[in-house]
């Protein structure tokens, strides 16, 4: 009953560690000495708790233990049951930080090759942070409207008590369907960020089933969780922006593709216009070629007509000429004009010498023949004599 009452008497004790003893079961028995008056109190920290905080107690180490008093009934001995232990004094904290950082670095926990890329277009997001303060609001205000499904677990993020909360939150998320785990808190002093230097927490983060984004505010000594996380950013806003990144890139790509598609269509239309113009020109050329052929044909035709006409007129002329020749030579025409042809036995009488006096001959006139006889012969020496001998009517 006394112990039940004492358990509610929570206290924090700062002191120097003396007399450390680790039992076979792993529980740690040690004493804390007050540096002012030298008062000493026996303390116990159970194995699970001791391992949780990653501090290897050594004599002379200055620590802050949180817990409650308890009386060990068989001996009536009062002990302080430490629930959490943490190093007191910046020098100690820094020393512990450096040692752990060195150890984990050597183990390869922080190695770059262990880092996993954040999946593109994440949807299911696990968030571990405190509902208190502006951190969660900053994160939610900056995370884009890309259909994120955010599951959040409230956890303390300051003081050694936070370690338990953070580990338990990670454990819960192990069974949740998430694409990315985000652990965020605002900035603070080196001491206040000590939970994020916890070895167990760092190992959990490094080995978590999906990539982890750590957004833990810091100044110079980065909490070790930031080295273990796959991606580390300095603020909750930056963590939100990181999640947005692939979606925003996708949007930009979509816009670019859209522009590309529109551009391609414009190009197609322009090409079509060019082809249409070329086609029009080709058609016009074809039309012109046809017209050219037609004109050429027409020329040939005209030339043929002209040539043929000229043949016809030549023929006609030839006929006329022939007609003239025939008319001129037509003996009937001569006879009708009054000329006659004297024909003796020897043929047509052309000269005086062709006949003799007393010789008979035929005189051919236009409508018959006259049997005649030569009675007198007279030679005309000149044409005039011939004309003057023609009887005048």
């Amino acid at each position: 009953m006394l112990n039940i009452g004492l358990k509610s008497s929570k206290a924090k004790i700062i002191g120097e560690v003396t007399e450390i003893k680790i039992s076979s079961l792993g529980h740690v028995y040690f004493s804390l000495k007050d540096e002012k008056d030298g008062a000493v109190i026996n303390c116990i920290i159970w194995k699970t708790r001791y391992n949780l905080y990653g501090i290897r107690l050594e004599a002379g180490m200055k620590i802050l233990a949180s817990g409650y008093p308890e009386i060990y009934a068989p001996l009536g001995k009062l002990s302080f049951i430490a629930e959490t232990i943490e190093l007191a004094g910046e020098g100690e904290l820094k020393k512990q930080y450096d040692e752990l950082k060195k150890k984990l670095t050597e183990e390869g926990i922080f190695a770059e090759e262990r880092k996993r890329p954040i999946p593109k277009y994440p949807q299911n997001i696990g968030v571990i942070t405190s509902r208190q303060g502006a951190v969660l609001a900053d994160f939610l205000n900056n995370v884009g409207k890309f259909g994120f499904k955010i599951k959040m677990i409230d956890s303390r993020v300051e003081g050694q008590e936070a370690v338990g909360d953070l580990l338990s939150s990670i454990k819960t998320f192990k069974n949740k369907d998430i694409d990315v785990l985000v652990i965020i808190r605002g900035g603070g002093s080196f001491e206040s960020l000590m939970p994020f230097n916890n070895e167990a927490l760092i190992r959990e983060v490094a080995n978590f089933k999906v990539p982890v984004i750590a957004g833990v505010g810091h100044h110079k000594d980065e909490p070790l969780i930031t080295f273990a996380a796959d991606v580390s950013v300095s603020t909750p806003t930056a963590a939100a922006n990181y999640l947005n990144q692939s979606w925003e890139e996708a949007l930009l790509l979509l816009e670019r593709y859209e522009r590309g598609i529109i551009g391609s269509y414009q190009e197609i239309f322009e090409n079509y216009k060019t082809i249409e113009n070329k086609l029009k020109i080709s058609l016009q050329n074809f039309k012109n070629a046809i017209s050219g052929v037609k004109i050429e044909l027409r020329n040939y035709l005209d030339k043929s007509f002209a040539g043929f006409k000229s043949i016809l007129s030549t023929l006609s002329e030839k006929l006329v000429q022939s007609e003239k020749v025939i008319l001129l030579n037509n003996p009937e025409r001569q006879l009708k004009l009054g000329y006659s042809i004297a024909i003796a036995e020897g043929g047509v009488i052309r000269k005086i010498n062709d006949v003799k006096i007393g010789q008979s001959f035929d005189l051919r006139v236009s409508n018959g023949r006259i049997n005649s006889e030569v009675k007198k012969l007279k030679i005309f020496e000149t044409t005039d004599a011939w004309i003057s001998d023609i009887p005048q009517n």
Binding site: K318, S322, E323, N329, P331, V348
Partner: protein, 80 residues
């Protein structure tokens, strides 16, 4: 339609014959009236039939020309 050419209406033959006849007249110093008359009669007949044939050919040619011209006019009308 190409008309069937009879011997008397074959222009080339006729013209050749006419040419022979006129040459005959030109080359004779002494004309045999009877033969000359026969030649004249033949020539007159050849001239007559040749003229007819020439007229036919001319008519046929004008027909063809008219046909071609009207075809051309129709096409020009269509193009307008």
């Amino acid at each position: 339609m190409v008309k069937e050419k009879s011997d008397s209406k074959n222009l080339n033959v006729n013209l050749k014959r006419l040419s022979e006849i006129t040459e005959w007249f030109d080359s004779r110093e002494e004309i045999d009236v009877e033969e000359g008359l026969e030649k004249v009669k033949e020539a007159v007949s050849l001239i007559k039939s040749s003229k007819e044939r020439l007229k036919d050919i001319e008519n046929e040619f004008e027909e063809i020309k008219k046909e071609v011209d009207s075809d051309k006019d129709e096409k020009q009308e269509t193009l307008r």
